[in-house]
Subunit: 413 residues, 2 copies
């Protein structure tokens, strides 16, 4: 199967957004062992879209479309495909019910053009949209497969993972599937990780190891190709073991794990609670730890003390300390962590203080950060000197905090 | 001039990176008034690249290539274009000197394959690379223009801005530049906004109006084409006025504005401070309002009261109320907003309580949210019934909070 991903939307051609849908789908197809030979982007123009479809029909046998399924007149992907294939569009009752229900539930007025979203290609399989209104479609016709997906990534991604992948897997001939495992690391840079594992990376051909730098973290993708998926998993286990021996302390999770999810799970397992005192992060740690459902079991709350006044009044940080050493200091981080732990009666108190930037503060450079962790055994403060933009400093502070918390809880210290 | 942007690189087809080069170039071309009708992505494969070039020659007259100019065997953009056009590749002495100097300066050993980067299309104009080694090229042949740019964005972007744009501007007939203005809306859906403005959208040909749904918000791009940019701005003013008359209450900003930036600026202008009491949002509001540098002038801090215990202990919400009406109630939101305002001595207190989901809580459905706003004139609570995932409910709650806050401060109420 040779795939082509066709994005429809003038906003892409105007440079308002990047085609991140093609990136997402391409990575997913690579995992399935399906080659992607082309990406195409075309505007909301039926003539040009028609010619793009015809070109794709001549060079690819899996055509995946994103965008142009919405309610407005500009949205014409399914209409144009229907024209090219000589198919009708028919109303799908389930999709219609779903759209009407959505408006009823939210109490908003449904404008008439929304009905258009329930029109589907005759004979196609419907891919339900759990995060929006326009359903997706899959169709096999004259040896070619067509998959139509909505444009917004938050609708497209779950639809692709939950419905398009099973549809495609069912049509793949019995070739060696690629079994992948993604290891997630934090606290080690890509080049150091790669240098530490260079001989392993070079020696491996099946399974293979590929590093990728992401959002302040690094992942390693291990991929094995065997007809028997049990053998593939065993080979991945062996390889992971070798990697753990060298850089295990930085490995925090797998696949789509995140530091906040891993930390939340560890806290749940150990039946521990945490509270935070946040200065430079402004509430970001609390936001992250409550991303996971059921987080009230592990997170009681936080005091965001953005000004010194609030650090004193709400947390009870000593006035003398704030005057003598400043808010950006090891001792302030220590007090903040201890005070929030006592105030909330949590097992662990975590604190964040520092200079987010762009400019210095208290004569300390942007990127100077102290993270405190207090529990019954005492308090430890981690100093950091981070680089990057204001957002990067804040985000990485939160990630380091989650990583220290996770490491502490894991070790049971 | 109708442009097509062709990205060459298997890493794009494997989903390792998104085609952000196409976004950048498209936005720049839009500003020049050059239409972009297609983006194409093809791998490091000469046969497939050749066919993509031929397709582009038949439908576009400006072909812009990114990627495939590097030193490795995989890099074959200029080689393939040379084949298609029947041109030779020749060594460019200046580029060769530049490459040798780079290695001398950094003290690294130059491998032989780096010489390949100094090969250029015979008869082309060289676009210097100030941030890397491979030079770009521009060529006009048989009525078509070809521009070749390196793949790494930090090399491509300055080369495009400093050398490709002047090259293109010199070839444009005295035609009207496009002047654009993006209006940002919150609190109104794309379809309702479009339905409300349908007659204006349909009647307009210059300036034009194009809606785009983004992350829980909608934007309208107004674009005018006039030789005199002053007339263009005046026409945009008139059109914006018409739009404001109908949906002005939902318009919160322009261009790259965000709700948090707009709210922070309004607070700064009016010299007002805000503090938040956050339950379901877990600290997200605080995180957003502190994204902007200098936010300590307008934001004092917050209490994240994720459990009822903390709502009582740290904020002082009444125990009876939490028992009788629950934490997810209008009165709880009212108390939270008033208490945090008093506790911190801020001008405005804002509160967030609700059910983030996925499941119900206190027998209230996921998406039930109350946002409180307290100031010296009294307290107003806004009830919301939001749909979508846990993340969407939380994110939209924060956005609604920022929007209510912004509207209140703007009106000076």
């Amino acid at each position: 199967m040779n795939a082509e991903i066709i994005a429809v939307g003038s906003e892409l051609l105007l440079g308002q957004i990047a085609n991140t849908n093609a990136k997402f789908i391409s990575a997913e197809l690579a995992d399935l062992g399906i080659n992607v030979f082309y990406h195409s982007v075309v505007g909301d123009n039926p003539k040009r879209l028609e010619s793009v479809i015809k070109t794709a029909q001549n060079r690819s046998n899996l055509l995946i479309f994103t965008g142009g399924l919405g309610p407005t007149k500009d949205d014409l992907t399914k209409e144009t495909i229907a024209t090219v294939l000589g198919k009708n569009l028919v109303y799908d009752q389930e999709a219609m019910d779903h759209i009407e229900m959505y408006y009823k539930r939210t109490g908003r007025v449904m404008s008439e053009n929304n009905r258009k979203q329930a029109l589907v290609l005759e004979g196609s399989e419907i891919l339900p949209n759990k995060h929006g209104m326009a359903p997706g479609m899959a169709l096999h016709e004259d040896g070619l497969s067509y998959i139509l997906l909505p444009g917004p990534p938050k609708e497209m991604q779950p639809m692709f993972s939950n419905f398009a992948i099973p549809y495609l897997s069912g049509r793949l001939p019995g070739k060696e599937p690629i079994v992948s495992r993604v290891l997630r690391f934090f606290g080690i840079g890509e080049s150091l990780l790669e240098a530490t594992l260079q001989d392993i990376i070079d020696q491996q051909s099946n399974p293979t190891v590929a590093p990728l730098a992401g959002n302040h973290e690094v992942t390693l993708r291990l991929s094995a190709k065997f007809l028997d998926s049990k053998i593939a998993q065993e080979q991945l286990d062996v390889l992971e073991g070798k990697i753990r021996e060298r850089v295990g302390e930085f490995l925090y999770g797998y696949g789509n794990d995140s530091l906040q999810k891993a930390a939340a799970e560890q806290l749940k397992d150990k039946k521990l609670t945490v509270s935070s005192a946040e200065s430079l992060t402004g509430g970001w740690f609390g936001k992250q730890i409550t991303d996971t459902p059921g987080s009230s079991e592990i997170f009681k709350g936080s005091v965001v003390c953005y000004t010194n006044e609030i650090k004193e009044q709400l947390l009870g940080v000593s006035h003398e300390l704030l005057v003598s050493e400043g808010a950006v200091s090891e001792n302030c981080a220590k007090q903040m962590a201890e005070k929030i732990r006592n105030l909330t009666g949590s097992d662990i108190g975590i604190s964040f203080t520092g200079v987010a930037g762009p400019g210095p503060s208290e004569n300390k450079e942007a990127g100077t950060v102290f993270i405190g962790l207090a529990d019954e055994s005492g308090t430890k403060v981690y100093p950091l000197a981070l680089s990057g933009s204001r957002t990067a400093v804040r985000e990485r502070s939160v990630m380091y905090g989650l990583f220290y918390l996770l490491s502490k809880v894991k070790k049971g210290q």
